[in-house]
Assembly symmetry: C2
Homo-oligomer: 199 residues x 2
DNA sequence: ACCTGAACACCGTTCAAGT
DNA sequence: ACCTGAACACCGTTCAAGT
């Protein structure tokens, strides 16, 4: 019962947001390949040229989608720390990292695809750095002697594991039954750092 | 001075090979985005429809390109073992793995991109498995108690590290100056496995 | 058996013109 | 200020027809 007309007409400032939302839907449904500017405009009920008032080109639109991906990603990894004893936080965050990738395969892929063009967009860069920061900090805590190396190794491990699982490269392990393996490997990775460099 | 006309005319059986070669060139020059069926046909000097006699569709062509990528990859990783004492082989192969990715960024990306469609093509699957097999075996040797876990962890680590470097995600580290870091991290990963589970 | 020409149904992007 | 209509230069793919 509000005064604003609902669905149609994006002549206010919502077209930009609506485009990103629709792009996220298209991504989830058909992968990055399926996200097209014309089809996007069609979905939102606008002319093919309209999106270009809000995004310079397709890459800019994709970057915006990736940025919201990193925000959600950040929340997921950060949230995994709540109520967890400090010495188990790294393992919990690593597990949450991989589980996010498994839960949002196409979005995760997009976040690390070449289409983003070296993360030139500052918003995207910020969102990505924030997401990584959480895990890097936890990893650095585990290995105070070589904080940089520990963070990179940990990040490489969870990212690589995520990708291999998404690609279906691990024989007998699919997205649906990966949880036990993910749990075991992330905990073991945490333990490994600690054992190598005990406090 | 041979009897066969050189450049033109692929009416024998070479069109298929010529297409894959040209696609590899286009990939190196402009990335996966730049590989198009029409442009490909143009380069090889053939009609736009001709490639479809040899590849069902674009995905099949891309899969063929990825397969030769995995073959070269396999050789590089396997070759890194030559003349290296057995207890240093894993580290050497891990380093070679990452260095291959850094030396052939677009090819490596393609090999792990979603365009390949779950590695349905048997040739591609074989080529990929052979490449992974080398490293997995070396990793399993390092940790005989949990060969599967060790192999997956090692592979995840090198793959993740490669991707992060290609994406330029590591602050201050670019493809050109990554060598020392790559060497340090791969050697440390090898050491970590050994220390955690000494023979 | 292998390739061409022409066509179909799309793209991303631009730009004058509308409101 | 924001959007439309129409156009430009492309795509991937198919299919009858040529040799």
């Amino acid at each position: 019962m509000s005064t604003s007309e609902p669905t149609d007409r994006y002549h206010h400032g919502d077209l930009k947001r609506a485009l990103v939302e629709a792009a996220l839907e298209m991504l989830v449904e058909g992968g990055a390949e399926a996200v097209g500017m014309r089809e996007l405009a069609r979905r939102v009920g606008v002319s093919a040229a309209a999106p270009y008032r809000h995004f310079r080109d397709k890459q800019a639109l994709i970057q915006a989608v990736a940025a919201v991906g990193f925000e959600r990603f950040h929340e997921a990894v950060e949230g995994a720390r709540d109520g967890v004893p400090e010495d188990e936080q790294f393992g919990a965050m690593a597990e949450a990292y991989v589980k996010f990738a498994l839960a949002h395969p196409r979005l995760y892929r997009l976040m690390f695809s070449a289409e983003l063009g070296q993360f030139g967009d500052p918003d995207l860069r910020r969102a990505a750095d924030a997401a990584y920061g959480s895990l890097a900090l936890a990893a650095a805590k585990e290995d105070p002697e070589r904080p940089g190396e520990a963070a990179i190794s940990a990040w490489a491990f969870v990212h690589g594991l995520s990708m291999l699982l998404l690609d279906g490269q691990l024989l007998g392990v699919s997205i649906d039954n990966a949880d036990p393996l993910v749990r075991a490997l992330t905990r073991r990775a945490a333990q490994r750092i600690r054992t190598t460099h005990p406090a």
